[in-house]
Amino acid sequence: MSNSMMYVNEMVEEASAHDRPERKRRLGILFWICVGWLALNVLAAIFANVLPLQDPLFQNYVSINAGPSLHHLFGTDDLGRDIFSRVVFGSRVSIEVSSGAMVIGFGVGAPLGMLAAYRRGKFDAILSSVMYVFLAFPAIIATIAVLSFWTPRSLFKIIVVIGIASIPVVYRVIRSAAMTIATKDYVVAAKVQGATDRRILMKELLPNVAPIGISFLLIGIATVVTLEGALAFLGLSVNPPTPSWGNMINESLAILQTNPWLAIFPSLAMCLFLLCLNFIGDRLRAHYDVSDGKL
């Protein structure tokens, strides 16, 4: 009975609406495990060069398609390269592409979305219709098409193309989040007190849109990691021999029968990475949901 549960919640809120000290809400141990795992991934990617890892490009023909061992934690691939080291170095591409693309997507999409929600009128109408036209193209197909023709491929180009493709998506999410806030009385009140538009955007809108933006950012990163994986799988991402999770999985296809480790480890790394991102994003959204002061 969801109806009656809602009703109990109402009662609790009504009762706790009085004299409540700032209540600490727990994010949960799982949340912190996820954060820890992500941090480990990112740090490993940043410091991959200085870490005691084997050269990801070194081909050791003595041990080809070896299983996991002490010497090669995840085993080796068909060219005798250390899979563990390739997975770590491969995460660089995923992390660089996803964060770079999100910088572009949020850098352009978020301010525009907030501005459109606050201004409304013609500005919003024109901008939104342009964005919706872009949204009508399936992002992955458009990205594949652009990357196929824009050669030679480089990490920078991939970031730019995915970044631009993400702008309308970010715009739409931020605009609708900002829209519900822009109609609140406190925004009107700020206007009435003589606050400038800039001040209202920074002080009233931004702090309330930010939590939604952050959780969407994490989900956005996850989406881009998948997208990069898909592109790499199709051979449209960075050129071999530079490892990336996507192209490692691609390479593993041919030898899946003889050496499944090559497919399993990069897939597992990507899976865990995505799982953590989505979980953190979801948890944060719930955590910061102080809709109308109700905790």
Partner: protein
Amino acid sequence: MSDTTQPLLKVRDLTVTFGSHRRKLSAVAGVSFDIFEGETLGLVGESGCGKSTTGKALMRIVEPSGGTIEIEGIELTTKNGKDLRNLRTRMQMIFQDPISSLNPRRRVKDIVAEPLDCWKTVEGAEREALVNDLLSKVGIDPVAHGNRYARQFSGGQCQRISIARSLAMRPKLLICDEMVSALDVSVQAQILNLLEDLKAEYGLTLLFIAHDLAVVKNVSDRVAVMYLGKICEIGPSDTLYESPEHPYTKFLLGAALEADPDSPIHGDVLSGEPPSPLNPPSGCRFRTRCPNATEKCALEEPQLVEIATGHQVACHYPLSTLARK
């Protein structure tokens, strides 16, 4: 009214129209009134009568589509940009929903200081002192609660904080839009008393918009009654409540229930519901529900006419003249 004193706020033929040319909704259809310094004008009416829109149009939160608004002799409707922002320090507004009028992610002190920060009038220790003073004036302990977030307060406390914020720039005119209707009786009494105290202390002039007739009478010196975008009667509150001249005022008062088992229930309850403001009746807007309506009411729109000192009514057949016949 005596013309010796210049009104603080002078509103003439204010109209607010929503929608495009095909579906025009005139929420406020030509409203004129004055508010004199130090008085409280109550604005009552049922939902959809345009009372809140009138208040918002005065603050230019919604754009008036016609008419003039003068505060201290300065025309408001033609001002824009910085001039408009400047004028906004003279009048402030308090909203109906206490919780949504405060940003849940800001600290109470910062909320109250917001107008000061916008205008950079005072800074540092002076700002702090002023904020603390305002908070204690409205009954919020600045030391214990000043650093809390707005979301940690109840409705009544939020409304107190809103009042403190609105007073920060020492405005002349305070527009209260249904400010106590979301509060419980015991909290409502606290806020109404607080408002009266602050009005005396700060020399405020109030426009008090509400649907509750008893509340409006309690705070107002004069009361204006609105119906479907127009003022149908305006007068000193005691006179207006005792001997209403407009039939609508009489029905409205009759429907207000007194918290007294011995008060009579008025037999004649106004039937029907207000017509749509999209398509208001010709002539007098109340004629479709008025028991005294004649053909004249359909043809000719009654204008506000003074029938006693300070008591104006927009009706072809005011009740006192009807009774004499």
